[in-house]
Symmetry: C2
Subunit: 342 residues, 2 copies
DNA sequence: TTGAAAGCGATACCAC
DNA sequence: GTGGTATCGCTTTCAA
């Protein structure tokens, strides 16, 4: 069932039928009514390929999700996509998603752009030495970065949370509680967000004249065993930490598991603060969370990203838009004063 | 840069250029070489919308992911999609993904199908009273179910793991270890997979003449707190379980957290078996896993699903294909003999 | 082996 | 307010 058949059934031109269906003002109310009814009656649906070709717009946003060398699929991406997907449905856009190995990310963007499969793309997981903005410029695709590419803060559109500030505040809280040996279990620090978190952590220490201890700082894909193994190593080490600052709830669960297994009580014997992306399958409690945390909903970020891209960037690709999300610092049950003997 | 311009630059017809680029045999080797070189030189890329319109194929597979009323985004979907995405890249297909509230799932499938945005779709998370197969039939879209819709086992294409058998074996293992009070923390039992797991659990008990205890069976979205709260309630209850059978690693972590917090040792004082979907961010160890588990890689399922859909179902939509994945039962550190006083 | 021309199914400009 | 027609960019008969 196509436009032609529909217009024949109505004894109208394709033009008029198209206009009626797409809400153009110059169609008479009566004609529009007839058209709409007939369309529903005979089950007409416009072929989106044809429409895309005619309009030149794909009405789709591209996402390229990298799976790391370690085959790790970051659940944060999923939650971001859920938020974005909700907005796309509302705004009449589709999401075309490519899940590819790190090495094929550029090629995937190229394909999306040069084959006109998407009108714009989201850049996920920017790295400190990222070059995707250059490729996308060459291709002429509007894009929005979830996070920031160093050196491109002004010129590019992005949405990001204040990673450095959040981790500085979290570290300050631990310092205020008397902790001096604080471990940082970070994500991979070639990722921009992780580099920023580390700087926030270091800044808080430096501000109090404290130095960092490399033995207490780790970076890796944020799995549960990463948290567990790191905590085990460190707590069994020569000079164990009294507090952990962890970049992900998932790894924090690993830390908590080990602390419990060692017969220690979290929040009393060892403090833990984690960043909480508010992943829906890992709720951290409401008013009195399990973990003290810096919290910022990545799902909301995804939703806003989609809105900004479609409403601001597409109509005006040359004016970069920036949106800053400030993480909340929420006190839960996993932090308390330091009891360590000095 | 389009076909016309490219053909003019080569002084060839669009026909010949198109044929050369698409590997048709009748083009002379020399012509093809010229065409391919020029195409690369001037950076020609075919407009996929135009191609889709001309061929009538979208070269895309649709996925509709429901987010439940509780806003829960199941990480299993993500991992499945990662597997499928890998296969799509390899096979030259795109994935168009819709993330929508439960109530809009049907509409999303309708849109994908009737607007010709996808050549086929994957049905995620079948329920015991699912009707999506009927809608998709009406629309005439080939599809493959990840899981099974009751009553549609023969007639429809699906890929599934043997949920019932896996949970029966897991329960048998606990029974062999002497456990008699076994708790089942299941997913929502209007989901087909969860209903099957429950039947497997019950069958194992029934086979030994044991009856089920409603106080020890729960169902919910599989979050971490669900595991924790259920374990806390049950262990503090009148007649606590000595073992837990859990439908998800995430909830199992919650169970483990509570067991440790109560000063009990997992595997010695309380046994836990979980189903392990082999989520990449929740590795359960290698040869000696943290949790004894029934394991089946949902990522592999996604990959196979994509392959089956494209290679078997699209060319021959009327011959249903079925693929059964058997979960492994892997002994880890979380199970041991029952020490409960009878 | 190559080319001309007719679709594919919509949109949108220009007349009327 | 309605209609004719060119156009989007490619694939695919049909002829040569």
């Amino acid at each position: 069932m196509n436009l032609k058949q529909l217009s024949e059934a109505l004894s109208l031109s394709q033009t008029t039928v198209s206009r009626a269906l797409n809400g153009y003002p110059e169609v008479s109310a009566e004609t529009r009514k007839r058209v709409v009814e007939m369309a529903r009656k005979i089950g007409y649906a416009p072929n989106s390929q044809a429409r895309k070709l005619a309009t030149g717009r794909a009405m789709a946003i591209g996402h390229v999700i990298p799976v790391s060398q370690h085959e790790m699929m970051n659940p944060v991406f999923m939650e971001f996509i859920a938020g974005a997907g909700e907005a796309y449905s509302r705004l009449g856009y589709d999401m075309v998603l490519k899940v590819v190995p790190d090495a094929q990310v550029e090629g995937a963007y190229r394909e999306l752009a040069s084959l006109k499969k998407a009108d714009a793309v989201i850049v996920h997981g920017p790295r400190i030495h990222d070059t995707r903005h250059e490729i996308l410029d060459t291709l002429g695709v509007p894009f929005l970065i979830h996070g920031r590419i160093p050196g491109q803060e002004e010129a590019r559109s992005w949405i990001d949370m204040n990673n450095a500030h959040a981790f500085e505040r979290a570290t300050d809280l631990l310092l205020d509680l008397g902790h001096r040996r604080i471990a940082l279990l970070n994500g991979l620090e070639d990722m921009d967000f992780a580099a920023r978190r580390r700087r926030g952590f270091e800044k808080a220490l430096t501000n109090r004249g404290l130095s960092t201890d490399p033995a207490l700082m780790r970076q890796a894909d944020m799995t549960e065993p990463y948290g567990a193994e790191s905590a085990l190593d460190m707590l069994d080490g020569a000079n164990p930490p009294t507090a952990f600052l962890v970049s992900s709830m998932i790894s924090a669960l690993g830390v908590a598991r080990v602390i419990s297994q060692k017969g220690l009580q979290i929040g009393r014997d060892v403090s833990v603060i984690t960043h909480d992306d508010a992943l829906s399958f890992l709720p951290n409690g409401g008013d009195d969370p399990i973990f003290t945390c810096t919290r910022s909903s990545v799902r909301y970020a995804g939703q806003r990203a989609a809105e900004l891209l479609i409403e601001q960037i597409l109509p005006n690709p040359d004016v970069p838009v920036h949106e800053y999300l400030e993480a909340e610092l929420i006190i839960g049950q996993s932090t308390g004063p330091c009891h360590a003997t000095a």
